[in-house]
Symmetry: D2
Subunit: 485 residues, 4 copies
């Protein structure tokens, strides 16, 4: 009953999860476990870098953590008491092993490995400048810009170089850096992407979500704060806040969909937020039906909340397969809605003749919603209503979430009634933006100074978007670029 | 929210699923889809054989259907308008490709491929006789015995040879046979394992469960009857019933756990049976708690039924990961209950301080139940009760289900109170056998002539168990056997 | 400077080599070495079966011995003090792992593994009969016929069953059989394919050629005699000769091309035979040139013999690459004779302006000869003469050698002058059949009772060719056969 | 009958071969052929980079050219009319894909790919400086130093930047550079490693040896001169000589062993040089024997020359296997000299009772020579003499040849008589250094100004050896370096 769905084309996708362990035996085995618990944040590739007081050891692989980092021959080679790891969904650039993190560089200050969750929104512009001054990039990853800024910084210590570098980048970043001297965890001044700190005995652990602390039995200490660098060196833990303080704007979509329901994000239980969302949804847009049916699995907590608030039975009207796969060969014309059926099947006996409301977390392109509504009708449902546990998703994300171009977002092209017709539901309603803030325990959204980054719903971006505005930059960079056959 | 759980050591496991398509374009692509929908019945290996009016084409692979049979280069080679397929969990013999079905033989009557769900309980005895007469076995599979009985039968037509062979075997079998002349589907006289028939236009389809009809959009016609052979040849469909009629005894555990909740088994909705089981359980063994919590995913329908009947909130107190993997390297002593945590995590914020009842489908070894109870206590639950949606599992199955030896079954060694202590629950109760029959719509179990095969609960086996009784036979066969390095 | 050339389409090819070891530690490691030394007899696949007094262990792989059987994880699994192995070139049937030898069967007398060099010329006819009586074949290999004949024989002991089986087969076979009781080596009554026996301490070794004894440091004892079965059991070695004695007819082409020059075949040094062939060739068909140039590597010993006899300098006018590969993509029109150049290059500086005679072992299709003559002309040779170290190859082999259909053999379509024009040489001559017998130490060929099987040159086949004559049999067998996708 | 031997531990090894094609269809297919012909110069890995007027395309692979670059899916992706390629033997650093060439960088001037044969002898020193200034290295290859020097050069055009970079490096380099504007071929001022230029129609081709021109049917134009940069752009070919002229010192070992016998190196036929070496050797150190026997294949041309000069029969007393493999499991004590026997076998029938002289190209560690002498004695040779076609190899090479440490070179530890005893020969003699120069057509070596780099024989290195002298530099670089698991 996880939130994230590994093979759904019609969802927004978190691009990364990170996990770090400082000073324990079996550090890389622990990182592998932590990454496994963060697998919903990125299924395309994974990597771990360890440090054994003398050498850095790295292994990166396409695919899941399980199957790659659960083997003794791999983990056994990742020697050392400190390690960081990364799971990754995808990039704007090519999908190849050289873009898989942690990235590593031999700097004048010694070896330096970095794992990054987020997206640098002026990366192309910075990259062009760095190349002009003689830097050579190994990847098309925005993260590499940070490394070159560190490498060419005029400061002497690694920490000063890193701060110098971070002051030049825009956008979202939760970072874990592993150096010959220790581990540095940091978060951008807005705190867009999450990062938490825990401990297990004397071992310090950093993770994108608390579920990754749970899997290793670690205790949650606190979130790394927006704009904070936590430096762990031996038994010493220091906090640095070198940026001009500004109001934080953590990503609101972590609560709606990205994070696992059993995680605590910014101090709040994701499961309870989602149940509260369901209750708000029932209050704002109730409908008279026989059953409340979740679109599994991401709609389930909101559906439970909705059913409770509306006092309508919660039923499993859609059964989800655990065995994913989306490339099956279409056998012929007889087989309809194949894509959705590879994952979902109507519980036909239950829904036949019944009025139902489906609860889903969001609508992106709308193609899956249409197929699910049709599948329920073919199974004999008398009425099919749809309620969405978030406001309409109208804008692209530039902070580390894979969103389709704006024009592909159904809500950017249609109003709610048009969307209802498109997905062929009897009724359709979205949660209001204030309803969403209420579910998070706020009175309402503070329009002048929003408590969260909700740009995907509101278009109110908390940073400048340098690369996006200077789009031609990326075109220039393409000339003569290398493709790996 | 499927019933079957791909990597749980502590569950009984269905050993196979079968699917056949007669006379359509893209037959093997359709079989691949059907097998994908039956994947919960066997995750270890899969195979498809097609016939193109001249040649038979076979591909077998270790692993899932997705990833093996979703590729054009494989499906494109499985030419022909008729095909059968098989998913497999495991065998008593070695796990190697030569045991993966469909099995195939060039007989004097032409090519013959067979896919089998079930287990022949006198296979070793028959095999020894066949080898003495000069038959050479390619596999250690019990299914191959059927092929050699067909090959050496004195009858002339393939159908007569097959009937002759089946009259000599004991045990459970649902079979699909593909020959140069047509397709034969049959089920043993007791009807232990399921087999249904559907159609999509003029195409005839056979499948272990109705969900596999759903995925290809086919219409359910009827179950193949116990003791029936359905022969499809061109547009002609014939039914043969060559066996002495006896009362049917279909497997009751299909309803408890094996089949998907969205399947219709022997005419009954599995989901509604499981909800009824939950309600029976609440009535038989209610307990005063704050939340009803399913052990996901197999306990979920029963938990919904229990919560409804008991009027206690249904909550997701355990979150299940979609990303399986059980071989992670243990990092050190700090990490407790690793195995269970790779799959399940406590929704800590929800259960802290609460009294809960966990609903699970069955207890096999009890090791997982213990870890889940402990995990809930560590998450702060005030009381942890356990209710099981079936009677105690006390006996091995010899009909195609992977059960541990009798001595490993917790219920064969302990009474309920001892089991409660073992799993450290505050209370433990199982559904009664009559409660289970009531949930299936019966008044009670008819002890003299039971309506189902419930040997795993009652020890009342519906057939003789020749090989089990003559255990020495299997020892003899081992001498000089080949191992594939 | 081996005789056999792994990637030349324009050569006859030996189909198999076999090697067996009786009773020593590390038996399978020794078999791997022996097979490596026999690799020139078959490069497509290899297999080893060992017996550890309880179980048989088999590994088969497509590809070379090195790279498959040089790894501890493979050899370590092939436990036991006795083992047999096989290298294979190809079959008339499909090329798949199930045809790779040793073949194995569980018989009523216990486990039985067999490795076969040769070809059964009535295999299809026997197979059809066996299938009619209920035998099920696993492969398309002719060797499997022998196993089924053994399995269904009415005799009691394995040895009697094997003799019974061999009396029913026609054609060429050198066999190694591994049973629970010992090892049996045998050779068909004509002794068409070679098989020698050696020892290393108390260990008995069988091999297709003496070079495989050399690699393990074993001492050559004698050839297994035509029509002999050597049975090794414990320390006991027995010789059985159950067949009616007839004159032997070993394959003459082993001396011309198949065997390695450092082997002793039927008591004669292959290298010295080839040098004698070169000398005969110089005497029969001398030519006035500047250099004698071998077509490497198979023409080299004959070229040395020719140069010595003719008192003309031996020079390396063609340099052969060790790095094989025949599938390179043709870049465009400019690149001529690409196929031959992947392997051979003219030593341009040497041959420019010179009159040369090229010495090659045989002409099959003639395509390579043409390209080599052209390459020498393009390199500037003034005259290019060709001398062939065997008579014209005019007939197919049915005894385990891969020959093109008769119509593809250049010598079956053209006389010598036409062939000369085809390959564009200034002159062309072949060794006479009597010249070849003289080089082997005979006075001449005894036409009424030839000392060798020379059917490829003379068309005088020493056995009936049942399958070849009843060609329709193979067509019947094809119906409904299984293809592995 | 190639010179280089893919799996002999006891040979010096050329580290690289390079090949480039400018402006033709199918450029990368042509590069693949060229690299295949240069495979003897490096068997560990290969790579090709092409440019299609917009993008660069690269594929690199461990292993041979055949098997990697002969597949349409690879070559088809290497689009463009210009391409360069590289085969590589090994590195001082780790052996991993990131060290495989061509290396590529996105520079401010556009894409830049480079393939390098040779070794930069001040690479570590330059690398340390570059890292201090912020350059980040992707590999441990010395070649990457050149790229960073180009990237950070103060000059504007790529050609000026490259010249600036090359003026800072010491050592041996033959380079091919592919840029968005054209191709640049260059050779260090001493011309240590070879590089030739050819054409096929209007297409310009560069290659390490002329055999690579032969395979594609190209015409040899001339060698790239020491200290020359040849710039090809459109139809324009320019020659630049920016370095202060010094006397050339091409590598003498190319003639002794590295180059193929059918190559023309610095205008001289390698085959004829080797025959002349054999003749010199016979004159300098004749011996009364029955047969002259080459150690195949590198000793063969010298043996032919020796036999001719000494009027003693040339015979194949050692037969070499084409099927390499050196990791076979040792079966037990009985098998002696396994390593050498995997490759060489005595032609026992020939040598028994005979006095022989073995001709080999060089002695490195001497271990193989010892085993070959022993093998000949075990085969019954009456006397075994050894003659070596070069002077004693006493010094390491720092210019792109893989040599063992000086202390492992037999000739650095022993005089000739001690070496004779070590290899157990009846007599041993080496060619004199002046004899070697005579075979190359010189009157003698000019000690004040040697015509060749012969440092491996004489210790007279033509450049300073900065890194070697400042050995601590490399230690510093090791700290915190990344290992790829």
């Amino acid at each position: 009953m996880l939130t994230t769905d590994p093979f759904d084309d019609d969802k927004l996708r978190e691009e990364c999860g990170i996990f770090g362990v400082y000073d324990t035996e079996g550090a890389s085995a622990m990182v592998a476990l932590g990454l496994h618990a963060l697998q919903h944040r990125g299924q395309e590739a994974a990597g771990i870098t360890s440090f054994d007081e003398h050498d850095f050891h790295t292994h990166r692989a396409m695919g899941h953590v399980a199957g790659n980092f659960d083997r003794e021959e791999i983990i056994g080679g990742l020697v050392g008491r400190c390690a960081i790891g990364h799971v990754r969904y995808s990039t704007t650039g090519e999908t190849s092993l050289r873009n898989v993190q942690p990235l590593y560089a031999d700097l004048a200050t010694g070896g330096f490995a970095i794992a990054h969750n987020g997206n640098i929104s002026n990366a192309m512009t910075l990259r062009r400048d760095l190349v002009r001054r003689g830097s050579i990039f190994q990847s098309t990853s925005d993260t590499e810009v940070i490394i070159h800024l560190v490498a060419t910084s005029g400061y002497r210590t690694l920490l000063d170089r890193l701060i110098d570098a971070l002051k030049r980048v825009e956008g979202a970043y939760s970072l874990l850096c592993l150096t010959t001297e220790g581990m540095i965890a940091c978060r951008d001044p807005l705190g867009i992407r999450p990062l938490v700190m825990g401990k297990l005995g004397d071992t310090i652990i950093f993770a994108s979500e608390t579920v990754a602390l749970d899997i290793v039995g670690a205790e949650f200490i606190r979130s790394v704060e927006p704009g904070e660098l936590v430096v762990v060196r031996g038994t010493d833990i220091q906090s640095h806040k070198p940026f001009i303080p500004i109001s934080q704007r953590p990503c609101i979509f972590e609560h709606v969909y990205f994070s696992r329901p059993d995680s605590i994000v910014e101090g709040i239980s994701v499961y309870s937020v989602r149940k509260a969302i369901g209750a708000e949804l029932a209050r704002e847009n109730g409908v008279d039906v026989d059953y409340v049916i979740p679109v599994p699995d991401s709609g389930t907590p909101a559906a439970i909340g909705y059913a409770e608030a509306a006092k309508i039975p919660f039923e499993l009207g859609i059964i989800r397969s655990h065995y994913v796969g989306r490339t099956f060969i279409q056998p012929g014309d007889g087989v309809r809605h194949l894509g959705v059926k590879l994952k979902h099947n109507a519980n036909r006996n239950l829904v036949a003749g019944k009025r139902i409301v489906l609860i889903d977390d969001s609508i992106v392109r709308g193609t899956t919603s249409l197929k699910i509504v049709q599948m329920m009708r073919e199974a004999g449902a008398a009425e099919v209503h749809m309620r969405i546990a978030s406001p309409p998703t109208m804008n692209s994300c530039f902070y580390g979430v894979d969103t389709p171009e704006r024009s592909k977002l159904l809500a950017s092209r249609m109003d709610v009634e048009e969307m209802r017709q498109f997905i062929q539901a009897d009724s359709l309603a979205f949660l209001s933006i204030d309803g969403l803030y209420r579910a998070l325990g706020e009175d309402s959204r503070h329009a002048d100074k929003p408590q969260y980054c909700d740009a995907c719903f509101t278009g109110d971006y908390p940073t400048t978007l340098t690369d996006h505005e200077a789009h031609e930059a990326s075109d220039l960079m393409m000339l003569g670029e290398q493709k790996l056959a």
